[in-house]
């Protein structure tokens, strides 16, 4: 047997004739499904009450019921809070508070501008380095033409030793250093493996002679690639064959080496 919603609502609002209401009482105590229907209808009634959708007579009766029942008061308060919370969420999503929004903008705008400048600077800087690396790779494995940057009266020459360029034992890469360069910045690319050590020790040998040596050199990272920057005195750097050896500072890691040729350019 089904009970229409209007009948349930009339029961809840005390508007059913007494005999019909008594029949529903009996069914309510006999059927658990009807209790569920009553619960749904009571929720709908509370919602209509909160939304002012009840006619005055119904609203007055329901108000009286609410006032007499603490549990009904709890149900009304609970749905009211839910409706207000949903409404608040919805308002916030569809109409963001413009004053608050502009306040945020006002605060973060200078920071964004500074960040943007910094990002542009980094981009230009790294692009410049990559151009240098690419040009060296494109000019072939034998001749490396370092990029030179004037510093004061002298200049710094930058050269890259890539880890991914295959070289035969008889064909070490050549690095052409301008005669005017005072410092050779040799960026030695580390192999693509996780380097737990952040600082490395390195030495540059010319034959058996240690020409240059440094320890605790921090790794320079560009994206996923890691380089070891070696700043070598270019004024007293004679042309010839060199070997650079490098290992993590802790000395637990295996040392790596790379050969190269220095050519002085007028």
């Amino acid at each position: 047997m089904t009970t229409d919603r209007q009948q349930l609502r009339d029961y809840l609002l005390g508007q059913l004739p007494e005999d019909t209401a008594n029949e529903l009482d009996a069914r309510l105590f006999a059927e658990d499904d009807l209790l569920r229907e009553f619960r749904y209808e009571q929720d709908a009634l509370i919602e209509d009450f909160l939304s002012n959708r009840l006619i005055e007579k119904e609203a007055a009766f329901f108000r009286e019921q609410i006032a007499r029942s603490p549990s009904l008061q709890g149900k009304v308060a609970s749905l009211r809070v839910l409706l207000l919370a949903l409404d608040a969420q919805s308002t916030r999503v569809s109409h963001p508070d413009p004053s608050r929004y502009s306040q945020y903008l006002l605060v973060i705008s200078p920071a964004l501008a500074v960040m943007l400048c910094f990002v542009i600077f980094l981009y230009v800087h790294e692009s410049h380095k990559n151009v240098g690396l690419n040009s060296q790779l494109l000019t072939g494995p034998h001749i490396h033409s370092p990029i030179t940057h004037p510093i004061g009266g002298s200049s710094i020459a930058v050269a890259f030793l890539s880890a991914n360029v295959s070289r035969g034992p008889s064909a070490p890469p050549e690095i052409s250093v301008p005669a005017t360069a005072s410092v050779l910045e040799l960026q030695v690319e580390l192999h693509q493996e996780p380097h737990e050590r952040d600082t490395w020790d390195a030495e540059v040998r010319r034959g058996s002679e240690i020409f240059w040596k440094a320890s605790h050199i921090p790794v320079h990272r560009i994206g996923k690639e890691e380089f070891l920057p070696l700043f070598i005195d270019a004024v007293n750097l004679p042309p010839g064959a060199y070997v650079v050896r490098y290992a993590p500072t802790s000395a637990h890691g295996a040392s790596q080496s790379r050969s190269f040729l220095i050519i002085k350019r007028r």
Partner: protein, 216 residues
Amino acid sequence: MMTKQSSISQARTKTSMRREITADHFAALLSALGTTPQDRGLQYETLRSKLIFFFTRRSLPFPEDLADEVLDRLAHRIAAGVEISSTPSFALGIARHVAQEQRAKQHHLQVVDEDFWNNVPAQLATQSEEHEIARMERCLKKLPRDEARLLKGYYLATSDNPMETRKTLASNLGISVNTLRQRVFLARQSLRACMTAQQRKEKMIKPPLIKGHRVQ
């Protein structure tokens, strides 16, 4: 403002032959309601809800207390060995009796919490409600996304014709209106559980009061 404590004492003055339920009586009542502990608990709550509906529709004050009075009397009868074929039907008989008693006394006692609903239909939240709303919003965020959407679709889209809107919503979801209501009911149960848990959590983290001053 009426409090739960005052409502209980007032209900006690209203109901005749009030009996204090003993553990044995309560155990006898539960045994009559089900076979397993879970079933007994569920049936007890179901019967109590039915009794509350029964007294609410009669506009009797404190329907919860009257429901408890019926359950107390029922437990007493069962413990006394009265043979009962259907416990819910027997409870209904007691409830009718209690309702008659109340009707007879109603003109003597009219206790209504007039203050409660003064603020209820207000469109704006009161100050005390704002904390509750914030808590509710936190709970809404914790709900599964489809349940939160369901609640928004169900409650926010209802303007002039909520029935039609909900029929459309149910149709879009490929379910019946009854199933839709059931899902909303279940989602609200989850919210209630979350609200209770949040309240407990907030109570736990509040620093203790010492001589009336909260320790900072």
